[in-house]
């Protein structure tokens, strides 16, 4: 009975949890670094946007009230998602949030052939960049959730933990 609610091997679980914590760490620091820099704004990134959605991103960059909201959501979003992934707290929502943010970063400035950006990049990319890889990694975390195994979600969603459900079944 219990095996059925324990789908991962220890190795799989460890690998997934380590991946989740590392991505969380990255998000959390990205967010805190932005909050700690009074000069930071996403305006430069948004204004450089290429591809289909550039008009939307350009609108964000050039309308100060909108930009203020975007900057707020972006920096605090990164902090919340990062903390969520590290702590395993509301992991599912954090994962979805991370996918949304990363997808926005990617479509704002996709490394398609023929697109050049003034912002320096630390590597060489063609279609696939580190944003897309991190996005794929977060999709893996969504497909193979670990918050209920290792994380505060064990406490938040006590009734849904494998152990609780196994207990229910054991006690009929």
């Amino acid at each position: 009975m219990q095996l059925s609610v324990r789908p991962y091997t220890n190795f799989q679980t460890t690998a997934l949890v380590v991946l989740r914590v590392l991505i969380g760490w990255h998000f959390l620091y990205e967010g805190l670094a932005k909050l700690g820099n009074p000069y930071w704004t996403s305006a430069g990134y948004l204004a450089e946007s290429k591809w289909w959605f550039s008009g939307v991103f350009m609108f964000m960059a050039t309308h100060e009230p909108v930009l203020a909201v975007v900057d707020f959501i972006n920096s605090w979003g990164l902090v919340a998602i990062g903390a969520g992934l590290m702590l395993g707290c509301l992991t599912r929502y954090s994962t979805i949030g991370a996918i949304v943010l990363l997808a926005l970063y990617y479509i704002a400035a996709p490394p398609f052939a023929g697109y050049t950006y003034a912002m320096p990049m630390e590597g060489s990319y063609l279609l696939v960049n580190k944003v897309l890889i991190e996005l794929a990694a977060v999709v893996v975390l969504l497909a193979f959730p670990t918050g209920m195994l290792f994380g505060l979600d064990r406490l938040i969603f006590r009734k849904q933990t494998p152990e609780y459900q196994a207990l229910q079944q054991a006690h009929g």
Binding site: Y8, G36, M58, T62, M86, G88, R154, R158, P162, E163
Partner: protein, 531 residues
């Protein structure tokens, strides 16, 4: 994933808090140590960064925030309504009138269209954000009919900053003397070619009319003395059009100098690099320009050489010494005034200059490549100006001290010198990296500016187009006009007054004379003459 509920078995499934085993708690809170490691490292890094910055800042004694002292141009509400005349409604005249709150309706339409095509283009927003200066443009004089009509249309525009209502159209005067004597103007903006500046300024102040005059203040040394005497002997308020006086980064640079961050400064280099015909004064020749629509005789006026009607000379007057002084009066004047604002150096002891017409061989007689070197022996300082109109590299305005260099433009950076005496300890201790700016001042604005033309980019990069107040982008021209009007109403001193104007004009003319006469010229401070 081992069993862990067995020791909880007796308590029943309903009490789910107590169902959590010690192992369960450990699994729930497993990442707390990781978060601890994160926070420990984060706080350590932050503390180290803060300590480094505090150490540099306490050493420098300059705040990272906006300049403490900026000309107080917009804090006082405008008092009585002033009637302003405009003489010369070419590119610069139109820009000044627009920055006083009166854009030509065609410009408004273009700005709306430009914003529709590229949302970064915020010309209209910047215009509409201007303070209402409580003036009206009552009188216009331009020798070209098209421009005079354009000025009249601008004076009655209904798209006004601050929601001001449209005014009555200005009256056109064929001769500027009639405008000055009409009794219709309290103050006048002079944006004609340079060869007219002195005569118009003198006539205006003699009528008791306040003057905002474009740079260069005059075309010759004698005119400079005449303007100086006329303005100082009048009760009028004079402002010379150097926008850098209102730029945040230039005022911040003054603070850096006062805090003696650079150490002894021995060399300042101001530069101009432009690489497009427009930047070299090959301006458009209007299709309606002809001897019927242009009063050529009045255009020539005090020009030393009278020539037959010429569209090139009318529309591209900066290319000839008859009407201006080329790079000297147009762009060296900006660089010099910025240095004078920041270092307060006054007129140099001597000047040499060289250059030639090396690229734009289009019949002009002013050089398109030009260098001038000024000596200030009592300040142990050389100021040099270097310009080409056929290359667009960005060299900026750099103040070179023994301990650090400062680059001033739209923003400002200070970089410690590898061999600095003052910062030696901090460089050796790793607190200051001489390969990176130790102090950066960026005006407090987070938005995106789009500047379209190469000439606009040139001015924006030098902090001469826009500046920032409280995070709001404002035209530096607007602030300079606002300051002039404020002093007219409430008293005080304009930031580029007749003393600064005298220094600017004489210094530019020293370079022009040195170039034309092929010799080193000197300033005799007793006789107040270039010798």
């Amino acid at each position: 994933m081992t069993d862990e509920h067995t020791n909880q078995g007796g308590q029943g499934a309903g009490d789910h808090w107590s169902n959590i085993s010690r192992r369960g708690w450990l699994k729930a809170l497993f990442s707390i140590p990781v978060v601890g490691v994160f926070l420990y490292n984060y706080l350590r890094k932050k503390a180290a960064d803060d300590a480094k910055r505090d150490a540099i800042m306490s050493e420098l004694r300059v705040a990272e925030t906006g300049p403490a002292v900026i000309p107080d141009a917009i804090s006082r509400p405008p008092g009585e309504r002033l009637r302003v005349g405009i003489i010369g409604f070419g590119g610069e005249g139109e820009s000044l009138v627009r920055n006083a709150g009166f854009a030509h309706p065609g410009w408004v339409e273009d700005a709306i269209e430009a914003n529709r095509e590229d949302a970064r283009n915020k010309r209209l927003e910047t215009y509409m954000n201007q303070d209402d200066l409580n003036i009206e443009i009552t009188a216009v004089c331009d020798v070209f009919d098209v421009r005079a009509e354009r000025a009249i249309a601008a004076s009655a525009v209904d798209t006004r900053p601050g929601g001001g209502s449209a005014n009555q159209p200005a009256k056109r005067y064929r001769r500027y003397q009639e405008l000055l004597q009409s009794g219709d103007v309290d103050a006048v903006i002079i944006a004609t070619p340079d060869h007219w500046h002195s005569r118009m300024t003198i006539d205006a102040v003699n009528e008791g009319i306040h003057v905002y005059c474009e740079k260069c203040m005059t075309r010759t040394e004698q005119e400079t003395h005449d303007v100086y005497d006329a303005v100082t002997n009048s009760d009028t308020v004079f402002q010379l059009g150097h926008q850098n006086r209102q730029s945040e980064s230039h005022n911040k640079a003054r603070e850096i100098i006062e805090a003696d961050i650079l150490g002894p400064i021995t060399l300042v280099e101001g530069t101009t690099n432009r690489n497009d015909p427009w930047g070299a004064w090959v301006w458009d020749i209007h299709e309606e320009g002809n001897p019927q629509t242009i009063d050529w005789e009045q255009f020539e006026g005090p020009a030393p050489n009278k020539v037959p009607f010429s569209l090139e000379r009318f529309f591209r007057w900066r290319c000839w010494f008859d009407y201006g002084t080329g790079l000297s009066g147009d762009l060296l004047s900006h660089e010099y005034d910025a240095v004078n604002q920041i270092l307060q150096i006054g007129i140099p002891k001597s000047a040499v200059a060289s250059g030639g017409i090396y690229y734009f061989k289009d019949g002009r007689d002013v050089p398109d490549v030009f260098q001038a070197v000024y000596e200030y022996p009592d300040r142990d300082l050389t100021v040099m100006y270097s310009a080409t109109l056929a290359n667009g590299a960005n060299r900026g305005l750099v103040f070179m001290g023994h301990d650090a260099s400062m680059k001033v433009g739209g923003s400002l950076t200070v970089t410690a010198d590898h061999s600095s005496t003052r910062y030696e300890e901090k460089i050796d201790g790793g607190m200051i990296d001489p390969d990176r700016p130790m102090f950066t001042y960026r005006p407090g604005f987070k938005g995106i500016d789009a500047v379209t033309s190469a000439t606009e980019q040139y001015f924006a990069s030098r902090g001469l187009l826009y500046t920032y107040r409280g995070g709001r982008r404002i035209s530096a021209y607007h602030l300079l006009i606002a300051e002039w009007l404020d002093v007219i109403r409430n008293g005080g001193e304009t930031s580029c007054n007749i003393e600064r104007g005298f220094e600017e004009a004489i210094t530019c003319h020293m370079a022009t004379r040195a170039y034309q006469e092929g010799r080193k010229v000197e300033w005799d401070p007793v006789r107040r003459r270039i010798v």
